[in-house]
Point group: C2
Chain length 215, copies 2
Amino acid sequence: MTITITAFEKSPDGGKGLARDTRVRWALEEVGEAYEVRLVSFSAMKEPAHLAIHPFGQIPTYEEGDLALFETGAIVFHIANRHAGLLPDNTNARARAITWMFAAVNTIEPPILELVTARILEGDKPWTQERLPLIRDRIRNRLEQLSVHLGGDDWLDGPFSAGDLMMVSVLLRLRPSGMLEEFPKLAAYVARAEARPAYQRAFAAQLAINDPARQ
Amino acid sequence: MTITITAFEKSPDGGKGLARDTRVRWALEEVGEAYEVRLVSFSAMKEPAHLAIHPFGQIPTYEEGDLALFETGAIVFHIANRHAGLLPDNTNARARAITWMFAAVNTIEPPILELVTARILEGDKPWTQERLPLIRDRIRNRLEQLSVHLGGDDWLDGPFSAGDLMMVSVLLRLRPSGMLEEFPKLAAYVARAEARPAYQRAFAAQLAINDPARQ
């Protein structure tokens, strides 16, 4: 059955790989599944046809036969659960890898989203410059704990897993801020993940859509 | 094997059920699994023994034999995955229920956490009163979309699932704000979930620890 995902017709980041379809592309590349992409405009995302598969009017979505999913974490989990390569077979190790998927989206990402929100939605507010250091310190607290956990290991818990894929995808959102470089172990962790051929293919595929030369 | 979870020795909410151990208790009650509780103080949460099972020094954790997990969403998923009652057997319906678990923690909860952060960590800042309406409007956007999706249904996708358990738990954090009542369908959805005997038992168990009469 053909897998079809959705992505921005024109990504707000201009192809830096921060749009969430990159996470899904990466997972599909890791497990070696081909996929098709349907591009959606900002206005189409808010229309009934798209809202029928994504109640919050965002991308990405995932369609395969009768199944339609939204929410990146859930899509990556679905791919990892159905194919070998992104979750360990051992029951306990598998539960721990899934733990890191949730930690990425519910412990690490919320303060990072606050930074994005402050910059974009409250960028013109008089308080934002004074707030940014507070938000950065909250992010640093989490990064410090994450860095301690990682220690000298390559990945969060044993071999590379969907937990690492989600965590690295979340950490990449910090790249524009320069904060990742304050934590050398995490910077190396992210670089290790970006060097994976599957990530490279996913990144190139989203860039090809947003490449100015293509417009 | 005995299941042991951790909870606050003294919950910051005084037993209103908003501490995240309630989510895990509720899941265990729904599937009929007995569990023990180890109470941890705020200082013990930051000590090596606790950090060894929870890298971010929080509660709840979940221990069962050799397995130690943290991160509420992951613990609820682990319980739902191993026992009947919280996830449909049908493959596609199961994937959709898991989608709602991730939507709860990664789409609905982040703006709600911003409200909590603004009130608690930035409560003394001069900008907070002016920021609160902006945050509330971002929450309302999501609640409106969620309410439209729910429509006249009892639960988010077919029978009650771990997706509803997580979503209701996240929405309950809004109760002190009064915002839930602006969306009658969501208020009724939350009330329907709270009326479940499993939720009632979970709520009573966490309240018993925080009951002033017990101190």
